[in-house]
């Protein structure tokens, strides 16, 4: 009976070869296709089943993962939610993730290359892998002050440390509660999702760095003034024309010197110094100044401030823009922050920061440090120069003019006793029969403490009344005179 037994063994071998083949096929050959299959929840489970690192502000975790005891393993929760939502983003099992949760997903989940050795040691010690914690540069008091001051009005506040580029506050309102999207109740998440997306006030948009951007209005005069100083042809004391009205070149339009149809000139004999024009925020002065400085100088100075640059802070920032190929009439309106000029509040905070940092723009950054579970530091903030739109002496002249505007001009509501505060308000027209957007862009410094702030309140009316007090609150929270 040995021959048939050998045959049986042969048959068994063939059967097992089939099993080896099929196993190899599904585990190796078809692996990618199966993992990518739409119904394969394991990919999701692998993603969401990790113990994700927290997001930390001033030592307090604002986003944490807790074991959830359900099929996803961990639940992400945010506290406080809405105030930080534009920064943290959401972490949804249905709709993926956004904000820091997305930009630093590899770090938070522990999959980043920089965490390789940490991961290996986790494996060797048999510990369950855990993501790294991300510490933000945000100053919780500044953030809270900005959030409270904005008080739910549509708009945004950005505060920077001019010397390092660290983002001290980034508020966008209205915001949303990211816990509603991070929930594991998928039906509730879907309802929240469509509700948030259908909301005309677009709470999911981070207005500080994206969305439709804003016309900067008069706040843009800071950029025009910088370009004028940099051209070498002007100083703060240069006398420039500033008539009550300005018939735009090759156009039927007439520009009034002030909003609401006021046509008083900027000074006697229809002229004033540059400093005086900025203090009063004379439209015709800056329209004419823009034309004489020229598009090239304006564009190059704006470019040094960061216009047109795609930044990752690590959130993606929509580049701010000027129009191109402008004729004189367009250049005139561009110079008072209208026409095709579109900016993010972050960009305007960078502009203000340059004046407080001797003309150097630092690259804005949101991440202070990345640390592993055992608190060893993987990465830390290193300040980087982004550009130098103006010289240190010109920056000093700009500060002088901006202080003038706060002490005795449009920005008085931002003044803080004992602190050098310089700034510029803006009231940006953006649509027929709509209230203008209200701007304040400026800096504050006392001793070694510096802060640059940009505030925009949508349809807030005069920047001097609406935006400037908000900036004051935020600066006070950081500088504490």
């Amino acid at each position: 009976m040995n021959k048939p037994l050998r045959h049986v063994w042969l048959v068994v071998s063939v059967l097992f070869v089939l099993l080896f083949t099929s196993t190899t096929y599904f585990q190796v050959v078809a692996q990618g296709r199966l993992n990518a299959h739409g119904q394969n929840l394991r990919t999701t489970y692998n993603e969401y089943g990790r113990h994700r690192g927290p997001i930390v502000v001033d030592g307090e975790a604002i986003a944490t993962s807790q074991a959830s005891g359900d099929t996803y393993g961990y639940l992400r929760s945010y506290d406080p939610g809405a105030m930080y939502a534009p920064i943290t983003g959401y972490y949804s099992v249905v709709y993926g993730f956004s904000g820091i949760e997305r930009a630093l997903n590899d770090t938070l989940s522990g999959e980043a290359d920089a965490l390789f050795y940490h991961r290996i040691s986790d494996i060797l010690s048999g510990k369950q892998g855990r993501g790294a914690s991300v510490e933000l540069t945000v100053d919780s008091e500044a953030q809270q002050a900005a959030w409270d001051a904005l008080d739910g009005r549509r708009g945004s506040v950005v505060a920077l440390d001019p010397e390092t580029g660290a983002v001290l506050a980034m508020v966008s309102a209205p915001s949303y509660d990211p816990n509603r999207l991070a929930s594991h109740d998928t039906t509730a998440v879907q309802e929240s999702w469509s509700e948030l997306n259908d909301d005309p006030e677009r709470p999911l948009t981070n207005r500080a760095i994206g969305g439709d951007l804003y016309p900067p209005g008069s706040a843009f005069k800071l950029v025009v003034a910088s370009a004028a100083l940099e051209s070498g042809d002007y100083t703060t004391d240069s006398v420039i024309p500033g008539p009550g009205t300005f018939q735009l070149p090759n156009s039927s339009s007439v520009m009034n010197n002030f909003s609401a149809g006021r046509t008083d000139p900027c000074g006697p004999d229809d002229e004033s110094t540059l400093a005086e024009a900025l203090r009063q925020s004379c439209n015709t002065s800056f329209a004419k100044l823009g034309i004489s400085v020229g598009e090239d100088q304006l564009a190059s100075t704006a470019g040094e401030f960061g216009f047109g640059q795609r930044l990752e802070i690590p959130l993606s920032v929509t580049p701010s823009t000027l129009g191109t190929d402008l004729d004189d009439a367009q250049l005139a309106t561009t110079s008072i922050g209208q026409y095709e000029t579109r900016v993010t509040p972050l960009q305007m905070a960078m502009v203000a920061g340059a004046f407080a940092n001797d003309g150097v723009v630092m690259e804005p950054q949101l991440v202070e440090a990345v640390r592993t579970g055992d608190l060893s530091t993987v990465a830390e903030l290193t300040p980087k120069e982004l550009g130098q739109p103006l010289s240190a002496s010109n920056a000093a002249q700009m500060r002088q003019m901006m202080v003038g505007a706060v002490e005795d001009g449009t920005g008085t509501a931002a003044a803080i006793d004992g602190v050098e505060v310089g700034g510029k308000t803006g009231t940006a027209e953006w649509g027929e029969d709509r209230a203008p957007h209200s701007w304040y862009v400026g800096y504050g410094q006392m001793d070694e403490k510096k802060i640059a702030v940009a505030v925009v309140v949508e349809e807030g009316g005069y920047g001097s009344r609406t935006a400037a007090p908000i900036a004051q609150d935020v600066m006070e929270a950081v500088i504490k005179p």
Partner: protein
Amino acid sequence: MATIVSYTARPRRLTQALLLAFAVVTGVGAYALVGLGRSDELPSGLMTYGIGAAVLALALQVVVMWRTPYADPVILPLVVLLNLLGIAMIESVHAANENYGLRTSAGADRQMLWAIVGVLLCIGVLLFLRDHRRLRRYTWISAVTGAVLLLLPLVPGIGSSRNGSQIWISIAGNSFQPAELAKIAFAIFFAGYLVSRRDTLALAGPKVLGIHLPRWSDFGPILVAWGFAMAVLVFQTDLGTSLMFFGLFVVMLYVATDRLSWLVIGAIMFLPPAVFAATQMGHVRTRITCWLDPLSSANYSSCEQINQGLFGLANGGITGAGLGEGRPDVVPHAESDFIFASFAEELGMVGAFALLLLYLLLVQRAIRAAVGISDGFGTLLAGGLGFVIALQVFVVVGGVTRVIPLTGLTLPFLAAGGSSLVCNWIIAGILVRLSDAARRPAARQVAGLGAPTAARPAPEVMA
């Protein structure tokens, strides 16, 4: 038939002891890793579990040294390792269910208890079955027992249906798969019956297409076996069980008679009922669909189990997610019918191959014993038991990996389930006894040595 085997009579008991120690360390280590993977800590009962496993292994070693000193040293370590790995994976699935709450499954405790029962029965077999040839006396009793067991799930009141197959009985809340026990009974019956009828069944009949067919008058037994398999198929609606029994019979018939024609006839006879089942029986038809095209959106929901199993395989990749770190809980029945997918997910292709090789080695040891045994009954029994393990592994793993349609069998020694585990331990005991008979110096028929046979019962005369 009985061949002179080139064994020198080495008991290799030390080898077995070392292999058993290796199996226990590996198996208990796997259990510990599951705990670390799932909850970052060692399982609370690890010490007790390890000691328990070591004690059982020691008991096996002692009994083997005492009762079957020449037994194959590899069989028991293989079985112990498979059993312990199964317990580790059952615990992994259970802990995953506890963690994620997708479904529920019993903990490994039950399986541990059944393992103790299984080992005790195995020891019982070694102690009380002093010579495998005594089993031949029970040829016809085995036939009746097997038939009754197999048909038991059809009895109203105690039979219960799972996944469309009526192959379970349930008494006072305890469910039992009698086909597992019937498997042993039928292997004994086939071996006893065929060894006495082999000469007749081997007689040549008419020649068709170059193959010598048996005589028409000898078709009786295979027709009975076929009828029985059909009854299982039709009334219990389980293609797997039906295939297993018919396959076992045909292969043992082939081994007994060395007539290839029986294999061909068997294959041809099984084809019509398979086609019938595939086209006429709802749940078999679903399984065929899920075999051919489970991932398309039209079939996805009805093929949920096999798809989740495949996703598990893919998630495992080459090296696996790690013990206690996969998500086998997503797969329905991940601790029993789909335990192979759970292993493939957590241990990867490497681990899946290792498991298949363990089974292949076990089958190989059984067939090796079959070759070594000097009596026809023993040869048939060892060959049959070895083949039935191989067939069962093929049907289950092939079902999970889409080589064949899914059926209701479970992986021997691995899958959660008391009846399967206990019965397979009995098979392990019989195989150890058979391998001892194969390797015992007395079995050697070397001219001039005149092996002492007086102490052993005289071999029964073959019919």
